[in-house]
Subunit: 343 residues, 2 copies
DNA sequence: TTGAAAGCGGTACCAG
DNA sequence: CTGGTACCGCTTTCAA
């Protein structure tokens, strides 16, 4: 059985396609008016056939889709879900839908996803990019077509952006650790990306923090790695198996920090007495780890909501100058950081 | 600037719309043949305008969307993301896209999402339902229209289904705990749903396991709660603050178990010496908790892949009888379960 | 080798 | 009050 169309409904109700359309769109209140009896006949036919208007055809006609596209870097980091959740909340409250895609940390997928989303006549696009440059041209096009495009990121942008910055948080982190007496501070710097800016704010704060105490950066205390918990685990073992291991480790995000904590636990070292740990994001489980994780919170849900608001603002007023909403980061001190007990 | 259409390209290249279509769809190899020179002119025009064919119009014409819809219950449980990840992998490998929606644990949203997905001419639909009955009619319609619909769930179904069962796992759990000497076993039974069957398999195994040892079910050891970590935390406090607290707690999923572990840690009780914990799902962080969580693994990624395979199978052969792929569950013993030390 | 035109499923204008 | 019809952007058959 084929999907029923307007024609089927019209036939069954014994009216014309136009009439069906009128009834369904409640244009009966406007200029056109339709007998209650006809109306009922149509509605009954709709019910009988289980007719649902074809969204594609509607979009083709109207030029709008009532859909916002959202691209996240990958599905393995809860921080991105928080963002997706925020977007979903806000977008749904406006009666729009979200079409979510993941770039799977792959530049080709990222490009493909942006293109796919664009080809769908999405009404607006929220992008959390990892490989920025690849999609630059696509974004230009979208902007020229007056499609709302909002970035979620850390670097200022010419387009609308829901921006956050780890800078303040990272500075707080350094201050916190230095106050606790830490001097050998490791950094696990795992970013699944070639995007040059990603994480830089945290790296800079790290170096400057050390500098402010007259310390030089010991490059052997910096570990680069991927994005999985397991890679965090491995990076941590590299760090703590050194002759002079760090007394504190800064980890670029909570997921990696979970791996780091595991590595330390397995060596029967105590957190925070032997090693302190701080990271970034504040994903949901962070507060429930043992001990609870000290981390720099970035409110993902707020980021997602902010991005959506920017979309709708531009939808209403396409000629606005580029907008920015800033979501600050903030150090949440929990149980994984403590004073240096022994050097 | 408007989005460029085929007409714009045709004009710029000085050819007709059809020619553009031919070039873009490589029909040049078939019956139609086009001068290399014309071809190049068209391609150049496409490039210049940044033309991308309109997916809606294409779908309207072709009747296919190259898109699979996926509905998950909510965005806060990593288990669902594992499933989504599996779906994404498989679907993308076939050159299709995934449109993901979340029901936000809300029956209205669930219904709305299914309807929206259906209205989009999605080529196939993968559903992880919480409030089954509400969408029953929609599914019927889809099936009648020969749209592939695949369920992911635990109860057998008349439609295609990627099925798992916690039963075997739950039985293993009971065996494991009883062998370790546990007799007072608590159950935290949090399901964010009114769907009658959800979790039942685990409840049954629980009762039967106790029965097999000649024990009766102590209803005060069963706690019902919601789906958040925090609700798991609260349910656990109810349990361990009892006069005769359980020596082991079975938790319906890992997210809740994280909250349970926290509650126990906060009371300075030891896991597993004072209280053992087992749960279900085996989300990514489970192995990295402190101690690592004993849990019944259900391979979400495999579930997602299986569901996708069922979709494609039916797409190829719509008249197949209902298919089922079964993904077994399996107890993974880690560090949160141990022998009873004191009663 | 290229172009004209029908139609996919709706919407909305205009005429009856 | 209702029906005819042009059009949204693209594919594809048929004719030139």
């Amino acid at each position: 059985m084929k999907r029923p169309t307007q024609v089927d409904v019209a036939k069954l109700a014994g009216v014309s396609r136009a009439t069906v359309s009128y009834v369904l769109n409640d244009l009966t209140d406007g200029y056109v008016s339709i007998t209650e009896e006809t109306r009922q006949r149509v509605l009954k036919a709709v019910e009988q056939l289980g007719y649902q208007p074809d969204a594609m055809a509607q979009s083709l006609r109207s030029g709008t889709t009532n859909t916002i596209g959202l691209l996240i870097p990958d599905m393995h980091n809860p921080h991105y879900w928080q963002i997706a959740y925020g977007v979903e909340q806000e977008v749904r409250s406006k009666g729009f839908d979200v079409m979510l895609m993941s770039a799977s940390l792959n530049p080709d997928h990222e490009l493909h996803s942006v293109q796919t989303l664009a080809r769908r006549r999405i009404d607006g696009l929220i992008l959390l990019l990892t490989f920025f440059d690849h999609v630059h041209k696509e974004i230009e096009h979208l902007v020229q077509q007056r499609k709302p495009v909002v970035l979620i990121g850390t670097s200022p942008s010419k387009t609308d952006i829901a921006r956050t910055s780890f800078k303040e948080g990272a500075v707080e982190v350094m201050k916190h650790l230095l106050e606790l007496g830490h001097r050998r501070i490791g950094l696990i710097y795992g970013v699944g990306t070639v995007y040059p800016d990603q994480g830089t704010d945290r790296l800079i704060a790290y170096r400057q923090g050390l500098q402010s105490m007259g310390l030089t950066t010991d490059e052997s205390l910096i570990q680069y790695c991927g994005t999985t918990i397991d890679e965090g685990y491995k990076a941590a073992t590299n760090l703590i198996d050194q002759q002079l291991p760090p007394t504190a480790i800064i980890v670029i995000n909570d997921m990696l920090a979970i791996g780091v904590m595991r590595a330390i636990n397995e060596r029967h070292l105590n957190i925070p007495d032997d090693v302190s740990i701080v990271s970034f994001d504040d994903i949901e489980v962070a507060a429930y780890l043992n001990p609870p994780l000290t981390t720099v919170r970035v409110d993902g849900e707020a980021l997602g909501r902010a991005a959506s608001q920017l979309i709708f603002k531009r939808l209403e007023n396409p000629t606005l100058p580029p907008q920015e909403i800033f979501i600050p980061s903030q150090l949440i001190i929990r149980g994984t950081t403590g004073e240096v007990l022994h050097k």
